[in-house]
Subunit: 402 residues, 2 copies
């Protein structure tokens, strides 16, 4: 009964499901306190209190048929206006409400913009390591994902290979900074160089290349690092934003697209994106949470908690002999596996009840992703296990024998 | 820049947008009290108070990271269990939580099941008049919508033409009862006959045909009419449900799919639908409203308000000489146009500031859809206009001259 296109997805899915099952199995045997699950990207820091207050205020102050009703497929105009103004204030941009489309999270935003622009066979370039769903999103519209190899020195993009991989079929590029899974933030310099490549290549191939910036981790940046606003470096850029991490609302599916006037055929692309939002069945972003965003546009979760986790885990793991680029954003460490086949390393971790994700799940074998969006206590409790893992992998002697 | 597939959608869209603009234009000239907009399906009856109470209770009783967090792509298990039990109690079915997938409304449910099963070129049959988005949903997955002509006597489905239109390429059938735009409810007898056709034809073509029942209007039925539960008449049925109308939450995008065990390859279809939910970018249905449904599963909006509207509008319009099958469900009247070209009739209506939707927007020319999900006062205020329209169309003399 099922579609041919779904069959490979079903096969892959069972691998991921097996990992979940393994976590559950371990927890049922040893107790959940004795299992250190670093595999998920589910924020453990609660939404700010202002979100709850906003919901209460909205329910008291606004009409039910308005709060829970249909609005334009692009979203409530006042909310889009509020977002545009907030962006303009923060990034000295020049957006109007017409540049903002409210979406069912960034994942839906990505689907909408890809549906709006992709013809079958069009290529979309991205940089390994990357969130493997990008491939599924691109294939939804019969496009082809082209992957630039990881630059394992810094995990900044390899712009030379990037230029080589752009060709006549290239329609778009997806970037993700702060990055899942590396935590790397693309610098201003990187974006300037990337824009130069895109402009030169657009001329060469004779059509514009759309840069799609997937930004669910924008607000999760540490040590005062700048996360440059991409539309300022390359005009033909669309932003996919999500409040999943910045307000800890991943289940609510709320985000937005920014389609600036500087995008090629901006008016048509915007109209197509709004229609795509409707016909893929979203119709509109959830209404109550649109109104919440209207009141909480400048709020953020408690970043200090993530920062504390980051420092504890990074400092200890490197102390134990693990290698890792220090993440400047998001809530992941991307740690080099002591073995070429990182799945072997994942298995050793599992023996110590530590669950991490193999880098091949991000098209970057030889590494593992460790999510630190967990409690500080879980990290503290897990440290002896990481120490034993390091010893078993020959990175350091066991603590007692140092 | 935009995809070829989006271009016809952009053209159609401008026609709909023009209608909205026309409504706004009239309201700005004559005042919104003097414009009678019957064009939209946006519920005017507020959500039950229990929905607000449920939100308040959830925010007070449950953890933020749980309420707003990720869960399984299929939805919270306890909520799916609650829905399965409620259905079993109401319809003597035998569902388990595994048969329920929470979705971003019924529109998303339709997309998910179509993505799960359609191969390019597969045909999906539906009955005119129908919600034109069905065609867009089917084309999203490169399927082809095949339309059975309207049976304008009763607007029950023409089962003879139905049987003739099923062929080897038929993969699925979409029905919608209570129906948008006719308000007709498919009887038990109709479903028994439809199931017989489907079973005979499945054998003939050598593969199962999936019946997809789109049920956003299930709870909106009047005069005690039964809305039979379709899975009981044909095992190979998937239900797409939405709380948009039953709880007046259309903007919140909350609904579910039921995939019974009796569906062909049920386990694979369910797994594919859950993956489709993820990869089309929804990821999961909005989390807070899933939890609301868990607490409000047996709640309903005030149906009496719609019923009062229905009776007032139906009685008066037929009194004025208009022809219409009395709707037993939903919140629409589907009225015969006095002229062959119903757009001419729509234009006359517009001259009296009455906005209605041409039947050709539902693949059924010669009729217009009048939404009565408006205030009783709007209907009362509009009656003199309808009387004048009837007179101008030669259906009756003007009131003064009777």
């Amino acid at each position: 009964m099922i579609a041919e296109k779904m069959k490979p997805l079903l096969q892959n899915n069972s691998a991921i499901r097996m990992m979940f099952e393994e976590g559950k199995r371990l927890a049922s045997i040893y107790g959940s306190e004795q299992v250190y699950d670093f595999s998920l990207g589910n924020p453990n820091v609660p939404a700010p209190d202002s979100v709850k207050q906003a919901i209460l205020d909205i329910l008291n102050e606004e009409e039910s048929t308005f709060v829970h009703g249909y609005m334009s497929n692009a979203g409530y105009e006042d909310v889009r206006e509020t977002i545009a103004r907030s962006l303009n204030q923060r990034f000295q941009t020049n957006f109007r409400l017409e540049n903002i489309i409210m979406t069912v999270g960034a994942a839906s935003g990505l689907n909408i913009i890809l549906k709006a622009i992709l013809n079958p066979g069009d290529q979309v370039v991205t940089f390994a390591p990357y969130f493997l769903e990008y491939g599924n999103y691109v294939r939804n519209y019969d496009g082809q994902l082209v992957v630039v190899s990881p630059n394992v020195e810094s995990f900044q993009p390899d712009l030379q290979e990037f230029a080589e991989k752009i060709g006549y079929k290239t329609k778009a590029v997806i970037i993700n900074s702060p990055n899942n899974p590396t935590g790397v933030v693309y610098s201003r310099e990187t974006l300037i160089q990337m824009a130069a490549v895109l402009e030169a290549k657009s001329k060469e191939i004779g059509h514009p290349i759309l840069l799609i910036s997937d930004e669910p981790y924008r607000e999760l940046a540490y040590d005062g690092v700048e996360v440059p606003y991409v539309t300022k470096y390359y005009g033909n850029t669309v932003i996919c934003y999500s409040y999943s991490k910045s307000l800890s609302l991943p289940g609510e599916r709320i985000g937005y697209l920014v389609i600036p006037d500087s995008v090629a055929d901006a008016e048509q692309v915007t109209a197509a994106a709004v229609i795509a939002n409707r016909v893929i069945g979203c119709v509109n972003a959830p209404s109550l949470f649109q109104r919440v965003i209207g009141r909480c546009v400048n709020e953020k979760v408690n970043l200090e908690a993530y920062d504390r986790n980051r420092n504890l885990l990074y400092n200890r793991l490197t102390e134990y002999g693990f290698h890792c680029v220090k993440p400047e954003g998001a809530f992941y460490l991307f740690v080099k596996s002591p073995f070429e086949d990182e799945k072997e390393f994942c298995d050793i971790c599992k023996n110590y009840h530590v669950l991490v994700v193999p880098g091949s799940s991000f098209a970057c074998a030889g590494y593992v992703r460790i999510s630190y969006c967990v409690s500080y206590e879980q990290i503290e409790r897990s440290l002896p296990a990481f120490q034993k893992i390091a010893a078993e992998c020959g990175l350091m002697a066991e603590e007692g024998r140092l």
